[in-house]
Symmetry: C2
Subunit: 206 residues, 2 copies
């Protein structure tokens, strides 16, 4: 499993498009991993949406990761689960998911990054790098943490939080090889073209 452009859904900010459309366009534009992250949806609706998304991601051979919910990831046979520091501990999640599934962990400090790697995370998220509307209550960790993690942690990490077309080169320069995007792709009119621009800027800087 590796990836460059990680797109995370947010039905609340999608410009009148449903997640099927959002994910389809993002993948065409270059997203090579998708996270289903909807905080206000019932379990049943998440399962139904996840099953629909899986048809798209599977045919595109793009991993589908479920935010927080191991039960939903198992129910839809997703490729993995992404856990925040307030979600299930990775040890419990691994027991349920097995070794073949991807487990990603959000980290907000070098300590958390090292711990997640030690606990067997397949990848970690590092952020929020910049201030972001998606997580307004978090203090940005800055490019400093990206740099430290790139030097100290061996497993793949993805930079997340406020990454825009015009700051992505700084993030890559700081050591990131993967970026995660929500509003910059999911919240714009032309999702496909936004994804394509992110992807281009990303590989240009690598």
């Amino acid at each position: 499993m590796d990836f460059k452009l990680y797109v995370i859904t947010n039905q609340n900010i999608a410009q009148g498009k449903d997640n099927l459309e959002v994910v389809k366009e993002a993948i065409i534009g270059g997203a090579d991993i998708i996270q289903l992250r909807e905080k206000d949806m019932s379990t049943r609706n998440l399962v139904n949406m996840g099953n629909e998304l899986k048809v798209i991601t599977k045919s595109a051979e793009v991993p589908l990761i479920v935010n927080d919910r191991v039960d939903i990831a198992l129910a839809i046979d997703a490729d993995g689960v992404h856990l925040g520091q307030d979600d299930l501990p990775i040890k419990e999640a691994r027991k349920m998911m097995g070794n073949d599934k991807i487990i990603g962990i959000s980290t907000h400090s070098l300590e958390q990054a090292i711990e997640a790697a030690a606990m067997g995370a397949d990848y970690i998220g590092v952020g929020p790098v910049f201030p972001t509307q998606t997580k307004p209550n978090y203090n940005p960790v800055g490019l400093e943490l990206v740099e430290k993690v790139s030097q100290r942690v061996e497993i793949p990490f993805v930079a997340i939080g406020g990454i825009k077309l015009d700051n992505i080169h700084e993030v890559i320069k700081a050591g990131a090889k993967r970026v995660a995007v929500v509003s910059g792709i999911v919240g714009v009119e032309d999702i496909e073209s936004a994804a394509r621009s992110y992807y281009k800027n990303l590989i240009k800087c690598l």
Copy 2:
């Protein structure tokens, strides 16, 4: 597995008591099954609370059921899970939970009750019997549904929704042998004595 008085947590209405205290007092008063149902809590906090509650319920030999979240039920090795019509389908839940765990299903019509029984539910909830503050958007199903279910469904069912000390005898007369209570026990000052009163009124009418 059988029970008479099913108490469901709701930290938001507990009179300054944490759920450990709530559950302890409810069990002393007569609750013989407990459901952890907290809609605004992070997964991590639910796991931690569930693990703490399990110490109490286990030593009292009272089943602990987790609302909605199969992943949390598995993580804390709870006795079962309770699923609403908007939660995981029972088929998926059973695959994850196995046959030894309890699966309960909320039903709001005779059709749903029969379907849940057919799908292998261990018990069903039937309600809301009366109008209730916990689910203000549901139309009460009335004593009529309690009566129909008691005549047509073989698996254990528990009546829920607006059941008070002064209407419990009607519910039992309509055919219920078990009642579930939230605010009438969890939301009062003296939880133990409320649970005891419910229990007494319940068995008096059986």
